[in-house]
Amino acid sequence: MAAAHELTFHEFEEASDLLVETPDAATLSRSDQLTPQGHVTVAVGSGGSYGAEEVVEEESDKAALLQEKQKQQPGFWTFGYYQSFFDVDTSQVLDRIKGTLLPRPGHNFVWHHLRNQPDLYGPFWICATLAFVLAITSNLTLALAQRRDPSIHYSPQFHKVTVAGITIYCYAWLVPLALWGFLRWRKGIQEHMGTYTFLETVCVYGYSLFVFIPMVMLWLIPVPWLQWLFGGLALALSATWLVFTLWPIVREDTRLVAAALLSAVVLLHALLALGCKLYFFQSLPPEYLVPPSQVPSLPPNVPLPPTLPRSMAT
């Protein structure tokens, strides 16, 4: 029964297989089709053959999820609507973060970790943390450089907080919007394509930025080749993870469109990392006393060729 397939997605291993076979199941909005079938689900749940220790948890899980879905009709303007996007526990958030650090080809983040419960907590606070960490570490680099070379003038550079905040939040919200729009357009053309909801796309992008936080903190080490190395590693990890997450959706499309989409995604990600490195972590002594317009002409800031093979490799 289609209902049973759609509604058994709580199970741990079979869920992903079912979702691979029927990618639509993951992406129907929760409010359709489930409220009239609520009673059917409970019957299936209690009759199913789960491991003994999982039965109680599954049933209470299902019952709670159903109640939540049946109550999930609050309007866009009510507080309850937004509360449904913050319905995560600490362990779930940590689990999702760990999921981004280990990209595995068959293990799709959206289906295994999000499981139809995208949250906004992760993306929002990861972006906030990243913006502040960027501004703080770039200021710290300046302070450490001043210790080595007292001719540099140290200042708190508070405007970097504003710049970092705007950049990160625009990236984490506008790019998923564009991607979601593009995928829905392609779905209109190729009927059998699956798609992610807007919130799932925002979630994917938000969690993908987590890797940049330790990368930025490691950029405190003032050795240039080490900074490029860390940057490259983090970018590779994050971009690979993004590609693995998007692959099950775009592989249904023509090869040209799929390749173009994935390389655009990776390119934007690389541009973000590169922009952060160049703007916030300019290597200081020669050009700090020089107006910013001359920065691109100075050797340490020229984008090195190693960035090209990374984007080609995907």
Partner: protein, 236 residues
Amino acid sequence: MAEAAESPGNAGTASPRPLFAGLSDISISQDIPVEGEITIPVRSQIREFDSSTLNESVQNTIMRDLKAVGKKFMHVLYPRKSNTLLRDWDLWGPLILCVTLALMLQRGSADSEKDGGPQFAEVFVIVWFGAVTITLNSKLLGGNISFFQSLCVLGYCILPLTVAMLICRLVLLAEPGPVNFMVRLFVVIVMFAWSIVASTAFLADSQPPNRKALAVYPVFLFYFVISWMILTFTPQ
């Protein structure tokens, strides 16, 4: 009385007080008067009390509010699990602290606008929007604390950091050097830890148990950013 006993039983009559249906079981003896005057002698006292607050000197009014604010400052400085901040919340304390902090942190207007520390408005916005965001976050996660109570707690717990700012300003009057920086760093770290402990003592209980870390982390980030602004303050 028989009438009193029967009247609740008449479903047809509009009984003015259905709440007292249980009294039909009690027999009312005839010598308890059920009539009398309704004027309450206390009323004139209440009127007197109102006018006495109106007529009191301005100093009394201001001192009453200042004492309330001061009492809450004491609760922040010696944090115990108590309800005072939550029950009698007010936003005077946070306003005073935020304005003091923003005034002390702002850069002078004469030097370059691009590279200095935060302006008054930037500090103000960070403190208030930060507090509002954290409050919204904790309410969305399912906490049962009211909006203004949470703002009150977060604002009052900036007190240790304001004290740190004052100390740093004094320390900066001495000659600059690594010792100067270490002293300031130590003071800011201690006050930052104090702020976090104070605010979690008040806020942590209002969260569901498996989401406490999710609600406390933004508070940590908020006070960390304020501490950073204090530590990097350089007088021009």
